[in-house]
Symmetry: C2
Subunit: 414 residues, 2 copies
């Protein structure tokens, strides 16, 4: 483990023991102070960001990535508002999850406690820096942040401002820190910092997530790869089905809860397939279809890889299935376990689909786009877990905690 990582993680660990005992009032005051400091420091942040953007342009970075990197006054204000929103959410720490008095009189309580130190590895916009810091702080966790190297000046500016604000609010600056160093080595060291880092959350593309899962000895919460399906059942209202397919695919294409694959029951294929092909193509969507879809102009033949693809763009794979169970079997084979939707008027089909499809979220007559911490009413999310251990689906504040048992007696022995 590199000495630099040990040092930064050890300091985070010490900060975490203080933060774990901080009251909600202290944490909320710190979040408000962090928000105010971001607004005050807007010029500093934008100047640092302009350097990142200039360096990226010099390096020939494609425009959509530059766009993701660029901050403006509105985005900084949104970061500050995000911190204020988190301050208003209930504190998960200290919640009693279960409690009872045992037959021998021992009092048992299971209480939510922070993890300790959380590592977040991300590729996204610099605003994730403030979002992750806020969610970790509120849940009582110190956070080690590792953003994209292209955003290092922006992230350094944001973290510097947040650390000063924390200190002014009476909490250790080391509750929030950037992982120092260049290249992959610091990330590798972070992934091996078992005992110093309690949980790692990678946020980014499938490649990043796979490499963290493969290499990390620190427990990982996987987030965000979504090959989401919409299945149009024989009992579907086809107008509703069309609206849900279009919303799931086109309302926002670069996100993990966008639909990437469409399955249609053969009983409604003759009616529905021509309509949905036209609507998708009118919206600029390229369809990778099976034979039934392929009968329509402009549909590209689907390869085996298409059924597994997360396009994150104006593309969709599409096929006709003989029945509900074939749709379920197809989803079992190809889904990434994020979100699948059925459109049906049949209670029996909805019940079977929701029971048999093993994904973080299963929608009945609703767009896949609803799998989201904000939409679910969690107030904020740090990502969407597609693994089964610990937390599945949107990760809100409660999912950013562990628990412990507190057992009270008056001299009990066995």
């Amino acid at each position: 483990m590199s000495e630099q990582i040990v040092e930064v993680a050890t300091r985070a660990r010490e900060a975490a023991t203080v933060l774990a005992l901080a009251t909600r009032a202290t944490k909320d005051a710190a979040l408000e102070a962090m928000a105010a400091a971001l607004l005050d420091g807007t010029d500093t942040i934008l100047a640092a960001n302009a350097e990142d953007v200039a360096a990226a342009e010099t390096a020939g970075t494609p425009p959509h990535l530059i766009d993701r990197l660029r901050l403006d006054g509105g985005r900084v204000a949104a970061m500050a508002q995000g911190l204020r929103d988190v301050a208003r959410l209930p504190d998960p720490v200290g919640e009693v999850l279960r409690g009872s008095t045992l037959p021998n009189g021992l009092e048992l309580r299971q209480v939510r406690v922070p993890f300790g130190v959380v590592g977040v590895i991300y590729e996204a916009r610099p605003n994730v820096t403030a979002d992750a810091a806020g969610l970790c702080l509120k849940s009582g966790n110190a956070v080690l942040l590792r953003g994209s190297s292209s955003a290092v000046r922006s992230n350094t500016a944001v973290v510097g401002i947040l650390r000063d604000a924390l200190e002014a609010a009476g909490l250790p600056a080391d509750c929030v820190a950037l992982v120092p160093g260049e290249g992959h080595d610091p990330v590798k060291a972070l992934m091996r910092a078992r005992g110093l880092v309690d949980v790692l959350i990678p946020r980014g593309g499938a490649g990043l997530i796979r490499s963290v899962v493969e290499e990390s000895t620190v427990p990982v919460i996987e987030t965000g790869v979504g090959n989401c399906h919409v299945y149009v059942d024989e009992a579907a209202d086809l107008d509703m089905a069309l609206a849900i397919v279009m919303n799931s695919k086109t309302q926002r294409t670069s996100v993990c809860n966008a639909a990437e694959s469409l399955l249609v029951h053969e009983a409604v294929a003759a009616d529905f397939v021509p309509r949905v092909v036209r609507a998708l193509q009118d919206a600029g969507v390229t369809i990778h279809g099976d034979a039934a879809f392929g009968a329509h102009d402009g549909v590209v033949p689907a390869t085996e890889a298409d059924w597994d693809a997360e396009y994150l763009g104006l593309e969709i794979s599409a096929g006709v299935v003989p029945d509900l169970d074939a749709a379920i079997a197809h989803i079992r084979r190809h889904s990434s376990g994020h979100t699948e939707a059925i459109v049906t008027g049949s209670q029996a089909a909805a019940r079977r689909f929701t029971a048999a499809v093993d994904s973080a979220a299963v929608m009945v007559n609703a767009s896949t786009r609803f799998t989201d911490g904000g939409e679910f009413g969690f107030g904020a999310e740090i990502g969407i877990s597609t693994q089964k251990l610990h937390a599945r689906g949107p990760l809100g504040l409660p999912e950013m905690t562990s628990s412990k048992y507190v057992v009270t007696g008056d001299g009990h022995v066995r």
Copy 2:
């Protein structure tokens, strides 16, 4: 990944999709059938076990390990009773963990679902084979079992009987299977079977657990390493303290919730240390003490390694601390995060200790030996988690599940 493991894990996965949809009535009937079959098959099991024992004796295995390996009619009956006890526990699958109607009318439910396929790697007695099979079946999970190679004949006999009973009860035999093959390679393959195996639970010594954590790409739940502390505060009732120390250390020494380290506040050291030294030595316990304990005959000087040791026998490390915070700091540095106890009459000391000590269980005026699924009223446990992700403390049936969100609308789009 070895072909054999892929084959057995793929069959388990198929069985798991059937088992996940089985009703409680079906699962309980299968557990009763499995219990009856174990009793009917006692002769077969004991004959296989006798071969294991004979082979171990020939190999010069030490007597306490032979003892752990040996089954008799009583132990087989206890295995059967264990399955019946699990049948009587509530089914965790289908429990609604949270539910609400969102502002837009979408109905949101978070529902407990099985993991899918659970791998259990264990070194313990052959009765773990039936225990793990029962807990996994009831929680809707197919299980891949990898026991000690010295118990392979016993485990094969038990699993064969359980699989026949499952099939007779209308569930797939592949809900329970042994991982085939000799040596470490099959274990290695199991640890890399990401996508086929959902969770691995190692049960055994620190070496086994460390190697699984290091090598596994399948998510792991760590269990059972316990360097448990008892801290005797200045405000302790010293009779109570003596009883709790003696019970924590000597009631059963080979278990993870036995105390391995004793800390005494210096204000009561002059009174308490001589008493506890005498009582421990009378019980045959070797004390690895600091200077204060070392002033007593027969106390061995503690090395740095002693403070981290999990003796699992009649040994204890012991020291005097200047105050409560020094005890907490010592525990933070040396504890394995299993169970720590404070003996105190002070409400403030109890509150500070339970808040600041970050372990799976924190006891106030009670023996460390109470950290146990049975004692906690969970009915059964598959181990005691010392990690913070997913589950911490005794793993009962609810901890053997994941969850999913089911979202119902009537054509909702964003």
